[in-house]
Symmetry: D2
Subunit: 346 residues, 4 copies
């Protein structure tokens, strides 16, 4: 039994993490913090938890938290993570951070895309990028894991087999991604109100979304060359789900079946990656509420282009579920514990 | 470990049952049948299950099913249940039926509301009405459980404390219920297509919905007098959830707090019933994906009228979850096993 | 050609009014005001209007507005209307107000339900209640019209034929109403964010919603006796639409067909009221985007109870459309001008 | 006043056409046909039309239709158009066809992508491609207009300025398009049921969707070279709206502002094309219910790539609205008549 705390437990990623942790057989939740709701019960904010987890939300007291936590998840709003994590790190607790702050190898890239100084660059060297399927070995001994973004996980996993095997023209990468609204977090901004969102869709932050730099970093490592790519996020009217449609030009002609084989080989033994058979395409409902990433591949022979469609639940595999997967790996537990449930579908 | 089979596993209630059963620690799924998809894998119909439950859907072979099933869930379309259940009953397997066929004490009531003959009335005597909170003792030894309807469970539980305690004018009962679209099942009828359903709501089957008779039967038993009532179902554009707003006139004035106390007393120890404190009202998202029934009570002192608002997930507590709860009771297992997870909320 | 201005043009009711006015052949829009967006173009706030109405939003300058307005629509947030209307009235402009401030005969009722002092009670006597089907003659010469609320219009029109004809037990009235989310206005409150609203429904303000008092006032006038009733609003996940399900006990038995005849007689010649034939029930999509009110009646003979289902578009007949209908009547124009278009359905 | 008939008036494109025609001041609707509902009133199928258009749906009698129609709109299911149009053409009536059958210059392309023989190839020469902004002159005298598809209109208009001005590498074109569910028509297929569609999204027909060939045809004409491109349609859970995100590589570097200027120049005087200022991106709600096409352009300087985002209402500018625009041009009426209303937004 390990002790886990969540800082920022009432945001959507935080509360999804709590939901999943309540079914984890090896974890005891010790502290949940919330700036806005400290002193209230979790079930006052989310009545869904009444009778499931009757716990009081706390203000963030680092010492109190560290005293009885083996792992601390930081699901804090942007900016807040950076302030608290150095303090946690000093006290020797293992950390899984949901922000972008510890996902970068190079602080300059971070500072350029985030438009602000990095205040604890020394931790970047210690931090491991928590994309479990690619960094499992490093994660085992990590004390600080930068849990990847939702768009990022979906996009990198979709392209990793092609990039690693050097099958594509790396200048041709285009990722057209669509996200559900939980991706924006628990927000009161007008743009995310029901009447403004439902029956609507739109692209946003074209060519400037921060996750672009994270995808480029990871694909560049896999390719062993500098990759620059197009990434376009879209907002669509559903709660959970990201679907990334990725376009790349093949160096040499290949049939759809051959590429599928390469994907299956690349993800052999990976329980959470499901490669679809030729002719099938994924629906986000097939992964909703789960830690799965579903992928399909289509070669457009006329153009020598591969289209990879990849989808996941942005607050599970794109946040809370992957965080648990990271924890399971870090603490030598069964990697699937607490996250191997069937998707909602309905 | 008990062996369980599901007849009609690809309808929405059936597949939700399968989803929940995959996380039940004491159940092994032995047969899933499907008239439309026999021979296919479950994951061909619901790709969400790939890697979770790789099982082939079968045609219904009663002997094969009974040979290795301790319990059979019949989640069949109306009419089909009645044909297969007598055969199952003969072979000694325990049955939990999702249809209306075995929920009635009096076959005349069934025949009047369903407009057809009951072909196995002898089984009505053996059948137990599977509303766990009211019939727990009878369910323990039942061989055939008529698993209650979704509207029914929501409505009966909302009114049981008032009716049992003889606090209300039983001629005044009005139940205005709203249901999500999964309540219509997995259907291709035009009325339930996305474009016809979304951004729309409507009442239907006013004064003629079959569940009316089921609610009347159970409240009459609790009241020990014949109750006739108004029940109006509505279709609203969401997937999961029923919300019943119930109006009844009090015999004598009572404060909201007094009625809440009566509800808490009535449902003392019932894990799945959550009574809200005065001033709070339930949202269906608080119960989505779970076996909970959330209730609130408001007395309108000006009118001497109580309003009870009750909600549940129609395919969990209103179908699959309650079926598992029944199974747990029947087989002496922990009543909460497999169904004590936190609601989805998101 | 009359000149019309809208104070509060960027709220949902205001902007819907502007949308409808752009197609009114006899109206020229002269001023649109907005506290939050003064100085911006309407199309900066609602890009939908680009090329349709290129007008700059202004701060509220009463003199400027009155100088070139024959009619002023006040679609202001609660509280703001009361401050500005006396000033408008002094300047002799005709006013159609969307707030609750000038809908009451009796200031005590207003003060009780709104919990605040009425600061211009002298205007209550002059104000006409703008429910066109009931007050057409008074509206013709009105200088100040209190445009009815959305729930109110839907509920009063549903019950008027029964109450006027003294067919029902007036103590038995129960109105269970369901509203789309535009009813909450253009708000940033968390409760109305997409992720909190979609796939959810709930009742709110049971026995305390302000519209209760407005419905009681009008039905009392029609009945010529004091009526107190139950009104329960619900929030459902769609944008446009209110559906009111009304329950009343008949004094004497009547068949559904008889009641339908009474409704048709009562609303004879009313273009915007559509009474459904026996056996048909309305969908809110049938009225979306239009000024229609669709109604159906079902008698439950077992109980001597009538159920009336009534629906309308809350921001058209429940706000902007009815305001235009009032304007048309006030200025002797064709009552249907600008609002006789087919509903959206899709 | 011209006389217009609609064959296939109860499909979604057909009924939207009827909705718009009821507000067209120069058109009298003479015949509406429907295979499934002949003999019923339009308002029996779409109660929204009660009191707006009380007309009986007919079986298709070509002679009767042609006798009093100046123009016939054929909004028929695939296959049915081809059978009826030669008969209409023989009788000298002018035709606006919603199907793909008369949109091709080359019958081989049609036969390859549609997988069937073209049975009236002689009409292809007479037919004019009804993309009003590109073929206005030809449309004026056309007797048969092939009204473009929804994806097609959105995509061609997004790329026409770049292709015509030879600014891009024509091998690099990628169109990632997202459509609302009305695009699938009025269908009972399970995939389009509410519970399967809502809270879900997916790509479909990657590299094989028929509209690909139509886009290629038109862009090839504009470029004066053979263009082959990637087109990926997606289904998203809303009713109305297509959003196409188009990626192309620039031959020479250009700033976003320069490209916007080129777009504005190209579409000068086009009322229904709205080019967004730099930094703004379109929402489909801004065009819902209208004939507008909204577009934004972003240059990704790092990559020398332009992203064009284009959106429209698939059943208005993508079907019924464009058909009316074509009719207006063909009959020398004001091109905007009947379709110059403000979008719904809400």
């Amino acid at each position: 039994m390990i002790k886990a705390s969540v800082l920022g437990a009432t945001g959507y990623a935080g509360v999804e993490l709590v939901r999943l942790l309540t079914k984890h057989s090896k974890v005891q939740i010790t502290h949940l913090t919330s700036k806005s709701y400290a002193g209230k019960k979790l079930s006052d904010v989310y009545p869904s938890f009444a009778g499931i987890l009757d716990i009081v939300l706390e203000d963030t007291d680092i010492d109190a938290v560290c005293k009885d936590s083996d792992v601390v998840f930081t699901a804090l709003p942007h900016g807040a993570a950076k302030e608290v994590i150095p303090q946690l790190a000093q006290r020797g607790v293992r950390i899984i951070d949901f922000s972008g702050d510890y996902r970068y190898k190079n602080k300059d890239v971070y500072e350029k895309w985030y438009g602000e100084k990095h205040t604890s660059p020394h931790l970047l060297e210690k931090a491991v990028y928590g994309l479990c399927e690619l960094y499992r070995e490093e994660i085992k001994n990590a004390d600080l894991v930068g849990n990847p973004g939702c768009y990022t996980t979906c996009s990198i996993l979709a392209l990793a087999p092609l990039v690693s095997n050097k099958l594509i023209d790396t200048k041709s990468i285009i990722i057209d991604a669509k996200s559900g609204v939980t991706g924006a977090g628990r927000t009161t901004a007008l743009d995310y109100s029901f009447c403004e969102c439902t029956e609507n869709m739109r692209a946003y932050k074209i060519a400037t979304h921060r996750h672009t730099s994270e995808i480029e970093q990871e694909l560049s490592i896999l390719a062993d060359e500098d990759i620059v790519l197009s990434f376009t996020p879209h907002l669509v009217p559903l709660k959970r789900g990201i679907l990334a449609t990725c376009y790349v030009n093949l160096k040499k002609p290949k049939a759809t079946g051959e590429i599928i084989k390469i994907f299956k080989e690349f993800y052999k033994g990976e329980r959470f990656i499901r490669i679809y058979e030729e002719g099938k395409l994924p629906d986000t409902k097939n992964v909703a509420g789960s830690n799965f990433v579903d992928m399909a591949v289509v070669v457009d022979a006329r153009l020598g282009r591969v289209v990879v469609v990849s989808c996941l639940d942005n607050i599970v595999k794109g946040a809370a579920g992957q965080a648990i997967q990271n924890m399971n790996i870090m603490f030598g537990m069964d990697e699937y514990e607490g996250i191997d449930c069937a998707p909602f579908y309905l």
